[in-house]
Every structure is written in structure tokens, then in C-alpha cells.
Amino acid sequence: MFPALLLVTLPLSAALLMLLWPRFARSLHVTVALLSVPLAGYFLQQILLHGEQQWLLGGWSPLLAIRWQADSLSALLLLLSALLHLLVSGYALAVQARDRLPAAFWPLSSLLLASLQALWLARDLFNWYVCLELLGMVAVALVTLSGDKALKPALNYLLFSLFASLCYLLGVALLYAGYGALDLPLLAGQLEANRLNAMALLLITLGLMLKAACWPLHIWLPAAHAAAPAAVSALLSALVVKGPLFILYLVWTELAPQAFWLPASYLFALAALGALLFGGIAALRTPYGKSLVAYSTVAQLGYATLALAFVLRFNLPEFVAALWLFVLAHALAKAASFLAMGELQQTLGSKQVSALKGASQTMPLAMFAFAVAGGSLIGLPPSGGFLAKWALLLGLWQSQQYFWLLVLAVATLLAAAYVFRVVVLAFDRAEPTAPDFAPQRLPQYLALLPALAVWAMALFSMPLLTLLKQEL
């Protein structure tokens, strides 16, 4: 119980203390961030040693209590969140004086970690609602840290997020109407394929897809992620949108009756198609650097959605592996690219992509980090993006989805186009944009770190796949 519990309560109580004594906010935050990583690592190891663990909070009987359950996937996501949180904390610490990061960042990002960790552990439909709401509100509060220019995107994000939560809640209420339970393992396999459940699952899916910014429900994302401070955008893109995706996956694979799987797979596939194509095109056309990265998130989520669609359609282990590998690879790559892009914009003093002219000379490290992370977004070997795409490719060949192979190819080229749109510009030596001040090195190295990690991910494909319990 203790490692899992501490992973949630440590950042939570630390956040409370930070609010109480703002003077110690930074040191508390860093301490917790540092503690969380080994703790999560230890927890993962425990899960690997002893197998899946679960707890009924309060010690009540299954139907009554809220269930926490940790399989290796949850443990992996816990570790990922802790790691990225630590990274972003380091980055925030490095730039806080320069960027005038409001003091509220520290407790808020700790709360973000706490709510994410709570979400990965929970297996209760209503508790997920509260977690989602919490996550959404922390995310919006974090977006508003950029000040007045972020107000409109933040409010928009909040309204969408609220609507999504309500959709989800309505779905849960309808499920409860039929089965009188909220516990996922108890409900698993119980659902019949009737109209009521179809409606409930549709609503749940709608809400979660809105929150996970699946195309065409992504419209809130680019503005919000682009408006937030770089450290926040990194967290939002890397982790926050994955929370609802995780629930979506569990709801569909464990809860939904098999009869619904095929139609749902069409729905997800359609969303994936739109995300991959239109997300990529939007990223290619937007004039702003962080919008580009944000649209790339929309596009990349398309891969995960596609994998989910095929999990439901063919139930091959390749697709499950692809889904989670995409999530992992995207989390790392997106953290790197947002931090790098934020650093570039801050130092070069412009939001425009065109301001990145000559950045390979003026800020080689940040540019390199962006390019390396971009390599994973494209899916170049041996990056994590490649590994995930490889799994997806194998699955698609195996299930003879030639059309989707084509889509994948086009999406890959689009990703290459928007990544290299920036990189090529960075090599422009004609009139490099002069930095407003001497570039700081530490934040750039911090941006590079996850990029390098994701770049080497395929070399660790075996342990990762073992963790995901999938064989290719």
C-alpha cells in the first residue's frame, strides 16, 4: 500500500504545505519531485516482482469501496509521470526567475502530479470523474499562469473540459442505472449490448475523447497548450491528455460488451484518420511555434486512437503494445519539444516559427533537442516513436489493413514535414534571429534529456514490452 499511497499523497500534502508556507514552496516541490521518482521506480519493481496489486480504499467490500489497482501499465505510467514531473520541475527551477513564473506554479504542478497518480491507480468510474475534473481544473489553472493572454484559451479549455466531464458523468449515471456499480473489475464483462449501455458508453467515450483531444474534439487544445508557459505545456501535452486516454482504453477493453467493439473501432479509426491528417496539416500551416507543437500533439494522439481502434477490431497484442508505446514515446518527445520550443521562443523573443531562423547556430542545443524529439514524432529508428510505429505496422500488415498503411505513411510524411519545417529554418544562415539575451544552457540540456531518452527507447523494447505484457 505504502509506495502507491505515498505516490499520491506525497505531492498532495506537499502542495497543501506549499500553499500554507509559500516561502518553502520551491524546496518542498523539488524534494517531492526527487522523492517521487525512486518511489515510483521501487513501486514498479514491486509490481514486477509480486504481480498486480489492488486495494479497496477504506477496507470496505468491493462494491462499496473505491478500488485502486496497480498493474505494470499503471506502474509504468506512475513512473513516467514522476519522471516528467521531475524534469519539468528542474526546468521550471532553471527558468523561474527569467520567465517570472508565478509562485502558484509549484503547488499547482504538485497537485497535477497527485491527480494524475490518483487517476492511474483508480479503477472506479465515479472516482475517475472526480480525478478528471481535478485534472482539468489544475490544467486550466496552470494555463492561466501565463497571465491575461492565456485567459481566453483557458476559459475555453475549462468550458470544454466541464462539458466533457458532464458527458462522462451522464454515461456513468446511465451505467449505474443498469448495474448499480461503479467498480470497474466488478462491472467488467457484465454489460449487455443494449441501447442503454450503448448510450452510456457513447457518452463516456465522447467525454473522454473531448478531454483527450481526439479529433475532431481537439479544438480547445492548440490554443490552450500554446498559451501556457513552456513548462506547463510540456506537462499538459505529455501527461494530461493521456489520463482520459487511459480511462478510455480500460473502459473499452474491460467494460464494453464485445458487440460494441466493431462500431466503436470505426469511430476511433475515423477520429484517428482526421487527427493524423488534419492535425499534421494544421501543424504544417500554423505560423506559431508552440501551436505547431500543440497541433503535433493532436496528430500524434491519432496514432494512439488508431491503435485503440484496432485493438477493438482485431485484438492483436501488436496494437495494445503500439498504443502504450505511442503514449510513452509521445510523452517524452512532446515534453522535450515543448521545453525546447519554449526555450527558443523565450530567448529569441518571438512566437513565430519564422523567428527560429538560424537557431541551429544561436541555440544549437535547444534546436537539437527539438530535432531529436521530432525524430521520434516522425518515427525514425531507434526512437520510441519508431518502436511504436513498428508495432503498429506489424499489426496492420498482419490484419491486412492496406488503406491504413497508406494513412500511416502519409501521416509520417506530414510529421516529417512539420518537424523539418522548423529544422530547415534553423539551418538558415542568412539572417539568424538574434537572441534577446544570452541563451541559458541548463534549460536546454533539460529539454534535451527526454529527447535522448526517447531516441534510445527502441533499444529497450524488450523490457518495455515485458512491462506491457505484450509480445510482438
Partner: protein
């Protein structure tokens, strides 16, 4: 028959009020109608044998939300009027969706198969309180409640990020003396609600909301000017509910053997733990809601 008539009228009223609030040309009207809608809703919930919720809705849904909306409304006075958008397209779509939803409702079983109510009754004696809703909130599903308190806190944190220069209301002698008269009464009632929550409808949220309305009235009448986030003990009050909750969880873990899980109160002290947590939560809710409604005297972006 009379009851059905009552139901019919109530439902029609609810729908009318909600529809009018959504479609009325003036925002002021919309907000007023919405508050009336909230009151009617409280009535409906009382009718549906949910007195806890009726209390909460009356205080939170109608009262505080209404106050919040009116504050926002003031700012719209300066905005140009918005053109009224067309109705038929959203109406068609929403109508279709609603029809689908309605169609799926027919499959809701009338006799629920859920074993939960029975389980609640069965475990109620061990929960430390005798009112089932309180037992669920603070014992069976205490984790939800903890996170919910966190959501409330976040609303305050988020709102503090966007401080608006609130138009101030200035009290005058009658309202000041009335506030002085009313607030002890509210304090009394909310304390009673909190205490009563262990055995009957009531509890931390209703009490907190009621207390908050008292605080808001006092605050609007130039009392309680100390109520600001800058003060350590105001923060302590706001965070107290969560801190008490977490501490209680930790202490309970320490009191029990190693196999104990999070948020399981030892049966012998469960009642006391719940009362303590609820008391702090009530104060926290009250102060948080107050700060949310009236804002702070001098907005500060961040405390270093």
C-alpha cells in the same frame, strides 16, 4: 394523484425556467431565471426523498452560484449586446440527441439490481455515523470526498490567478445591523447541520455552504476585512479540511496494523474522526466559498 399533479407542475416549471434562462434575450433575466430554477430544483429533490441534496442545492446551487453569476453579470453591463444566434440548427441536433437519450431511458430497470443500498445498510453500524449519506461521503467513499475538497481548493487557486477588480458593494446601517443579526443565526444553523449530519440529513457541505453565505453577507457589509489569503490562518482555515483529512488518514494508518488501507478509520474512533474531519471541512468550505464569491480586497498576483 395530487402528487402526480404536483410532479407535473414542478417538472413543467423546471423545464420552463431552464428553457427561458437559456433563451431569454437579457442576461440578467437569464441569471434570475436560473436562480429560480435552482430553488425549484431543491424542491424537486426534496420531493425525490433527497433532503441532503435539497439543502445543498438550495445553499450552493441556487444561493452561491446565483451570487457568483450576479457578480459576473455586473461586468456584462459594459459589453455590447450580442446578436441572438439562430435556433433551429442546434435545436434539431440537440433534439435528436435528446430523443436518443430518452429512447435509451426505457431500458433502465425499475427495480435496481444494485446491492449497494443493502451493503450500505449492512455496514452502516461500522461506519461511525448513522446517516447513510454521511457514511458514504466520509467513510465508504471518503477518497472521492477528499479529492472533491481538492477540486474546491483548486477553484480558489485558479480564481486567484485571475483577480478581477471587483465592483464593491457598500453596506449601510440597516444591512449592517441585519448582517450582524443574521450571521450568528447562520453560524448556529450551520453548526447544527454539521452535528446533525452524523444521524440525519445535513453535513459538512450543507453546513459549509450555509456558513459561507453568512460570511459573504458579513463580508459585504464591511465586516471580516481580515478574510484574505494573505493571512496565514486564513490559509490554514482553507487548507484545514484537506489537512485534517490527510492527517486523519495517516493517523489511522499508524493506529492500525500493517495491512490497513488508506482512509480506513478504526471502527472505535470512526465517529470522532468523521466529526473532526467534517468540522474542519465545514470551515474550509465556508471560507473557500466566501473567498470565491467576494474575492479579496486587494488582488495580488502572487505571493513570493
Amino acid at each position: 394523484m395530487a402528487l402526480l399533479l404536483f410532479d407535473l407542475v414542478l417538472c413543467a416549471l423546471l423545464l420552463l425556467l431552464a428553457g427561458a434562462a437559456m433563451l431569454s434575450r437579457s442576461l440578467t433575466q437569464a441569471v434570475t431565471l436560473f436562480i429560480a430554477f435552482g430553488v425549484m430544483m431543491a424542491l424537486a429533490w426534496a420531493r425525490l426523498k433527497a433532503p441532503d441534496l435539497a439543502l445543498a442545492e438550495a445553499a450552493i446551487g441556487a444561493g452561491l452560484t446565483g451570487a457568483l453569476c450576479f457578480t459576473a453579470l455586473v461586468r456584462y453591463a459594459k459589453q455590447p449586446a450580442y446578436p441572438q444566434p439562430a435556433l433551429w440548427r442546434p435545436l434539431t441536433f440537440i433534439g435528436l440527441v435528446t430523443a436518443l437519450l430518452l429512447a435509451s431511458l426505457s431500458q433502465i430497470p425499475l427495480q435496481p439490481s444494485s446491492a449497494i443500498p443493502a451493503l450500505v445498510q449492512q455496514h452502516l453500524p461500522q461506519s461511525g455515523v448513522s446517516h447513510p449519506v454521511t457514511a458514504v461521503l466520509l467513510n465508504f467513499r471518503a477518497w472521492d470526498t477528499l479529492l472533491e475538497l481538492l477540486v474546491l481548493l483548486l477553484a480558489l487557486l485558479g480564481a486567484r490567478q485571475a483577480p478581477g477588480d471587483l465592483p464593491r458593494y457598500r453596506g449601510w446601517s440597516l444591512s449592517i445591523s441585519w448582517s450582524r443579526l443574521l450571521s450568528p443565526l447562520l453560524l448556529l444553523v450551520s453548526g447544527y447541520l454539521l452535528w446533525r449530519g452524523a444521524a440525519a440529513p445535513g453535513g459538512a457541505f450543507q453546513a459549509g455552504a450555509l456558513l459561507a453565505s453568512g460570511l459573504v453577507i458579513l463580508r459585504l457589509n464591511q465586516q471580516l476585512s481580515w478574510l484574505s489569503w494573505r493571512h496565514f490562518w486564513v490559509r490554514m482555515l482553507v487548507l484545514g479540511g484537506l489537512l485534517a483529512f490527510v492527517l486523519a488518514g495517516a493517523v489511522s494508518l499508524l493506529l492500525q496494523d500493517l495491512g490497513a488501507v488508506w482512509l480506513s478509520w478504526p471502527q472505535s474512533i470512526a465517529g470522532a474522526v468523521i466529526l473532526i474531519v467534517e468540522s474542519f471541512a465545514t470551515l474550509a468550505i465556508a471560507v473557500t466559498l466566501t473567498l470565491l464569491v467576494v474575492g479579496e480586497p486587494k488582488p495580488e498576483v502572487a505571493d513570493a
